[in-house]
């Protein structure tokens, strides 16, 4: 039976693939995110207006749960170190981060997103740490041929070690 999953790929399931630490979240990061997601509507004030009574009651501006604090640049690794070595720059070549040859593919899509959120919200000043692992491989024949399903799990915690969220994304490579 044809498979794209090698023994080397199986061996990295559950292994930390990437770790990153954000710069302290700025209120303007949250504001821009909320404006982009809510456009053309005005986002709820707790995402942008620190003087709104509801925001004050919540202890200040909070981030939408889906906010990504590591989107543009991370403190660790910094942008120079984040540049992948030659051959690993291709979007979807996850295994390369652990020195494993990725399977051949011509496209990568997201097939599923599963998010879990903790009690703690992200707020201005928080420093968020993300830990990423491949947690599952699966395969299926589809209209584009053999498709490889790769679950990438990203866990976010804050500067106190409190769990913020875990997002599992199932990528489809074909």
């Amino acid at each position: 039976m044809r498979t794209l999953i090698t023994d080397e790929m199986r061996a990295i399931v559950g292994v930390v693939m990437d770790e990153a630490t954000s710069y302290p979240i700025a209120a303007s990061d949250i504001r821009r995110w909320a404006l982009a997601v809510y456009h053309p509507e005005v986002p709820p004030p707790e995402f942008w207006d620190e003087d709104d009574p509801a925001t004050v009651a919540m202890g200040g501006i909070v981030a939408p749960d889906e906010f990504n604090p590591l989107a543009w640049i991370t403190k660790e690794p910094g942008p120079a170190r984040r540049s992948p070595p030659e051959g690993t720059h291709r979007v979807g070549a996850f295994e390369a981060a652990l020195g494993v040859e990725p399977p051949p593919f011509r496209a990568v899509l997201q097939g599923e997103i599963r998010a879990r959120y903790g009690e703690v919200r992200m707020r201005p000043g928080d420093v968020i740490r993300a830990t990423t692992r491949i947690t599952e491989y699966a395969e299926r024949e589809g209209r584009m041929g053999l498709q490889l399903y790769t679950t990438v799990s990203e866990e976010l915690t804050n500067q106190d070690g409190a769990w913020v969220k875990t997002v599992d994304t199932v990528f489809v490579r074909y």
């Binding site: 509801a54 990504n68 989107a71 496209a107 997103i113 998010a115 959120y117 209209r143």
Partner: protein
């Protein structure tokens, strides 16, 4: 107007949320989440080379729109605890996304109300794009 927490029952439907599938929206999202500055979201030719009829929305933005659907319904009295979606087909450029939801279970414990919902996104042709499930927690007197 947020939902009346005491009135939440299985079968209750959420107000529909709509967004145009437009580069005007997608460029804004890419500007705050640049990992999604990828050709197939902006260039019809690239999308066609990957088997699609046109450029299409970023998956995390579809996921984010369901958060907005839930937040619009809950107001500040609620939090999303879990939100899972399967991305069956993407919203193509030029179509309109319609997101909806329906309460399937309600569990009350003290002031806390845990609600399980089916959620979904379709386009304006009625094609199912992304079915999913969610769990939210509401507190009646949360400000």
């Amino acid at each position: 107007m947020p939902v009346d927490v005491g009135a939440i029952v299985p079968g209750m439907e959420l107000p529909v949320f709509e967004r145009e599938g437009s580069l005007l929206h997608w460029v804004r999202y890419a500007a705050v989440n640049p990992a999604h500055i990828v050709g197939h979201h902006f260039d019809d030719d690239v999308a066609r080379s990957e088997g699609f009829d046109a450029a299409f929305i970023m998956a995390p933005l579809e996921h984010a729109y369901l958060h907005v659907l839930l937040r619009n319904w809950m107001g500040r009295q609620g939090r999303v605890r879990r939100l899972d979606i399967r991305l069956r087909r993407p919203l193509l450029r030029g179509r309109t996304l319609r997101a909806g939801g329906k309460v399937v279970a309600v569990h009350r414990e003290g002031r806390s109300v845990l609600v399980t919902l089916d959620v979904w996104e379709t386009d304006d042709l009625g094609e199912l794009l992304a079915p999913g499930t969610a769990e939210v927690e509401l507190v009646a007197d949360r400000t």
